[in-house]
């Protein structure tokens, strides 16, 4: 009885630590009140550099010290001893529907795909649900920033970058409406039911619809005389003045090439999303400064005759070709495995620190937030985490502290709560 009581108390305490969370996400952290120093960890800066036995200091949400630890005075700091541990910049999830979909199969919880083919004016940021139960499970794996991308149609809508510890979407917005998501149609599409590739009969029409949209939008945005406001055309103006990026979902050589031609014609800053076949045409991408958000490495090869490890080694192929790329994943809940997508590539020859860059600084560059995030460099936002070991390997990827703009976030999540709840049940039965 005593024991039972004792464990019940522990359980209650655990619940308290979880912030009375049964079905709610953790409480967003308060602003950084005191300077924090992480001491002794192996710091992976995200820019390719590593500092063994490092000192990482931040204050007021910004990184102030990134250097080797040489017994510097740390009086003013709250010190976190991290010998044997690793520090990384917060991982960035590009192209995710996190916060847009809560339960995949339940329509009422899906806000990722608006009806119609051209929706450049729709904005993912306002549908981003900061209270999603999924978000805490992602950030407890070191993912601290995310690009929330709409899907569907030809032009899916506008993406925004959020930090993953917020009260509401305004709070969450790290860079709002920063890009437009375009999905190029495939010339042929694989018919799962038939087991064959079928010609996309609508291909020419769809390509024309896209081409016409961009031409019309460009004209509209340049027009100086009075004009009737057109929300759809207006939405593209940022592309032509360089304030927005065009993210194009394209995997085949054909689609990637069409995207490059389109971007070139209108002098748009282009990012390829998916990029399965990008390694086949490195010259075209490099010449046109096209970056790639790579799909998950833990994918099947696209063709039966492909090398069995092709998706595993694609990051290395892009790295060697000198293309700016980052490693992405798919969906929303899946993003908790983002780091392992890079780990998989390391197993197939990618340099370790390059793999870290592909999750952090490269992603920040591609998303246009590298002035504030993506690496551990003085002056940047303190968005980082400490893990017990190598974060790319599931053997050691346990995240123990995480900070977003200096705020130490709660790493608890619904799944941990359920874990403890049923640990308690079985403890009582013992």
């Amino acid at each position: 009885m005593k024991i039972n009581l004792k464990y019940s108390l522990i359980f209650c305490l655990l619940l308290l630590a979880g912030g009375f969370l049964w079905a709610q996400s953790p409480i967003p952290a308060a602003n950084q009140a005191e300077p924090i120093a992480i001491v002794g960890a192996t710091a992976h800066l995200g820019n390719g550099q590593v500092i063994q036995n490092s000192l990482i200091g931040f204050e007021g949400g910004k990184l102030t010290v990134v250097e080797a630890y040489n017994q510097q005075a740390l009086d003013k700091y709250r010190v976190i001893q991290a010998e044997g541990k690793h520090v990384y910049p917060g991982l960035i999830a590009p192209n995710t529907q996190l916060g847009l979909i809560e339960i995949g199969a339940v329509r009422a919880t899906r806000d990722n795909d608006e009806t119609g083919s051209l929706n450049p004016n729709v904005r993912s940021i306002i549908a981003y649900n900061t209270d999603s139960q999924v978000i805490p499970t992602i950030r407890s794996m070191g993912v601290l920033l995310a690009q929330i991308a709409p899907e569907g149609g030809l032009i899916s809508g506008q993406s925004s970058i959020v930090q993953l510890d917020a009260w509401n979407w305004e709070d969450a917005a790290y860079k709002a409406d920063e890009g437009l998501y375009l999905r190029l149609p495939a010339k042929q599409s694989y018919s799962w039911r038939r087991g064959t590739y079928q010609k996309n009969e609508a291909y020419d029409d769809q390509m024309l619809e896209i081409a016409t949209y961009f031409a019309d939008a460009k004209g509209y945005c340049q027009q100086t005389t009075a004009k009737a406001e057109n929300l759809k055309l207006e939405a593209a103006c940022g592309l032509f003045n360089g304030s927005k990026k065009l993210y194009v979902q394209a995997n085949s050589v054909e689609a990637i090439t069409q995207a490059v031609l389109l971007a070139k014609q209108h002098a748009i800053s282009l990012v390829i999303v998916g990029g399965e076949d990008a390694w086949r045409i490195p010259g075209l991408l490099k010449e046109n400064n096209v970056a790639v958000i790579l799909r998950s490495t833990q994918s099947l090869p696209g063709l039966p005759d492909d090398d069995v490890d092709l998706p595993f080694k694609t990051p290395k192929l892009l790295q060697e070709a000198g293309i700016l790329y980052c490693i992405g994943h798919e969906g929303f809940w899946q993003y908790r495995n983002l780091a392992f997508q890079a780990g998989q590539a390391v197993g197939y020859g990618l340099d370790y620190e390059a793999a870290i860059s592909a999750l952090t600084l490269n992603t920040a560059k591609i998303l246009g937030i590298d002035d504030r995030a993506g690496s551990l460099e003085v002056g940047k936002d303190a968005i980082l985490f400490i893990s017990q070991g190598d974060v790319l390997d599931m053997r050691s990827a346990e995240v123990i502290h995480a900070f977003i703009q200096g705020r130490e976030i709660d790493l608890n999540n619904k799944q941990k709560v359920l874990y403890h709840k049923f640990q308690e049940k079985f403890r009582r039965e013992r």
Binding site: E102, I103, G104, A105, V106, Q133, V134, Q188, Y190, W192, R193, R194, G195, T196, Y197, Q198, K199, S252, V253, E254, D277, R280, Q298, S299, L300, P301, L303, P304, D305, D307, V308, D309, F332, W333, R336, N337, F340, G343, Q344, V346, G347, Y348, L392, D393, M394, R395, S396, A397, E398, Q415, K416, L418, Y419, F422, Q423, K425, F426, E429
Partner: protein, 995 residues
Amino acid sequence: MKKTIRFILAGLMLLVTSGQLFAQQTFPRNGVYDEREGWYVFTNATIHTHYNQSQEGATLVIHNGKIEAVGKNVFIPKGAIVTDLKGKHLYPSFIDLYTNYGLPEAKAVGKESEKKPQMLSNKEGAFAWNEALKPEYRAAEDFKPDDKSAATYRKLGFGCVLTHQMDGISRGTSAAVLLGKERPHEMMLSETGAHHLSFNKGKSTQAYPSSLMGIIALLRQTYYDGQWYAQQKGETNLSLEAWNAVQSLPQIIEVGDRLEVLRAAKLAKEFGKDYIIMGSGDEYQRLNEIKATGATLILPLDFPEAYDVEAPFDALQVTLAQMKHWELAPTNPARLAEAGIKFALTTHELEKKDQFMEHLRKAIKYGLSEEAALKALTETPAQLLNLSDQLGSLETGKVANFIITDGPVFAKESKIYQNWIGGKPFELKDLDAPDLLGKYALRVGNQSFTLHVSGKAGEQEMKLAHQDTTTLSVKHTYDKGILTLVFSTEKEGKRIRLSGTATGKNWSGRGQDIEGNWVNWSATYQGPPDADKKKREDKKDESIDNLGVVTYPFTAFGWENRPQATTYLIRNATVWTNEAEGKLENTDILVRNGKIAEIGPRLSDRSATIIDGTGKHLTAGIIDEHTHIAASRGINEGTQASSAEVRIGDVINSEDINIYRQLSGGVTTSQVLHGSSNPIGGQSGLIKLRWGFAPEEMKVANADGFIKFALGENVKQSNRNNDYNIRFPQTRMGVEQVYVDHFTRAREYGKLRNSGKPYRRDLDLETILEIIEGKRFITCHSYQQGEINMLMKVAERFGFRVNTFTHILEGYKVADKMAAHGAGGSTFADWWAYKFEVIEAIPYNSALMHEQGVTVAVNSDDAEMARRLNQEAAKAVLFGGVSEEDALKFVTLNPAKLLHIDQQVGSIKVGKDADIVLWSDHPLSVYAKADKTFVDGILFFDRDQDIQLRQAVQKERARLVQKMLAVKKEGGKMQPARGRSQYREYHCDDLEREE
């Protein structure tokens, strides 16, 4: 002589039109009696009496549509019409066993646009429950001679076809018919030629069966139902009555590929049938296995066209298998003939029937002997139809079905002159056309020319030499004795038109000159034509040298030579034994005869191939408790609440590239499961990943039988569209009742079976009864705790236990109950949030179940994830702190236990199967690669060898691309570069609905 023949032909035509050779005794006659006996004699021919026998200068006598005599010294009755066939050949005409000649297209019964799943047949009357079962259909009743269609067959030399309606799984009976013009009464040689079956449900709009395994199960059940029907009195079922009646006929089944040939043969064997299998033309890819079945085949000749591979990136979509099949398909008949497999040939599947001869010649060029080809068109089909007494050779008493050619029948230059069917001629080319070849003095009015007629008789060219400077082409036609010439005497000039008849070799008549004046003309034979200067056809023949080899399987990364078990000594590895010894450093493993022979430090064996394991880790092969790879045409037969009768083992697909991919991830054994779309799914197939071996060879021998059950949203159809709201159950409440009801009925069934009273063998209930009797084991797709608990209670009520809960994402909530019940849990490492019933799924699930004493496995349900199940196991260390050795067991020993094969596999122990993996790194690390994967001591994946295979793929593709580019350059017919992946990747809620 010529005149005579012409006259005779004219007479024959009359006969044909009056159609009186085979008298219709029952029909009233309108007009005057005009039936003729029809004595015809053909002399001086080379008569090919049989596919392998011929006589030169022989005579054929026919009378009343039958062969009266054939041979050298036969009696020629007085008054017979004699045709001299000097220089001509006479063959038995061809037989095509696979046509729908003269039959209407099948139509769906009822509305085709019905959206709601159709549970029963729409056909009215006391017929089968399933719309795809139509044994009662009789082609004979629908048959109507169709002269246009018949003419296309006749042109190719066919005289008789077997015709059936190509729709349904049991398609009813076919009729053997002659390709003449008369009433069906006369054209039908046999109104019940054969019973036709297929692995395709055709126009049936009924939901069941939706998968190949469902089709096979339906056929098996129908065989049993037929047996039962014959002994019972309570039910009238016209389909079963017909089914029983047609069993004595030849059984012809159409299949979709080489593996289906094996499946059909297996089905035939089970029920003591001799199927004649309508193949797909890729049989050479599994030649030995097909030969071993002893089956007889009907082969199509629809060789694929070359792919247009000019655009390099588009061409990537075309798989090596497609390219290789393009090259090797024409060798199929030759390879089968060489292997001694009996087959007939058909025009079926040809895009256009008139491609037949061209394709057949191609097959001959690729090695098929002319004799074998002729046999496959005459004797074999006659035999298969049990009509050898009437067809297939030219012998006394047989039907007078023969063709007259001017050379060996398959030679490119040869022409078919006449095709006689039932003693009546169809003239394709005029046998009496005069030999016009020669040099003539042509006189028109008072003008003189020289006319040169050269080329081949019947297809001659005429040229006019005028003033020895120009040659002008002369257009000419010859029809029934009248020759017409049209020409001009100068280039682009006005034309002279002449018409006349022959006297001997000279011609004369009247015509009009360019002014319209009527003039006389004559052409006087001067002698043979000048030597033929015609250019020889020098179009380069496509090469049949250097053909690619057949690999096993017939895909990229297939083997040229079957891999063999070898003695291996793996030295100095870190060995994860999964046994009491735990992890052993610096340890050697000796593999011999497919087993683990020795484990220990510094082993030696002189015969062994040494593999250095320094710095590497060795584990038991990964066992995937839940996969859907390596299955053909659907993994769900979810159209009924229970489909216990279907068996994944019937549809194992040995050619799935994912087998090889998963070997590269260390997987050695997989349970291929039925999907999760109904509460009681189908029986599992347990395979070892013996890449390149045939389906039956991949199966784990003597393994316990398993069956898939499923709970929750999939079986309630809750994530499907609103039309799917009629099949019971639609709620969890209903799911329980499905189980209780089926187990109750199965128990009753068992009682009846054991009582000795007659009973209907029910494959569904029989399988469910096996569960109650402890002979079959459940692996149940499950998520929420409530229903997991429910199924355990149902099982306990019926006295058995649930072997495994698979997915079991809320297993952690009832882990204690599962442990007490004795159920294992095979789960995902970290999946959740994809549907409502998984919102409380947690990655700590495996750890919590493990702590409670549940045997825990981590499975894939996904062709991609299966390649890194070691990483998924590692997540149990990260989430919940399971020890590394225990975590590894989640994907090796524990699934072996759950599958009852832990006596053979799952750990590194002397005497166990050598299913082992040598890893480059710690096996739970994301960085670990399976360097070598052995199954039964056979090295099925080796990273070094894989590099060579990749190079081989590239080289072979490059060779075939060049070959296809050459075809295009020469103007060959091409098809667009469109990929075909025959092997689909399934997840457990994927529903098959074939289009």
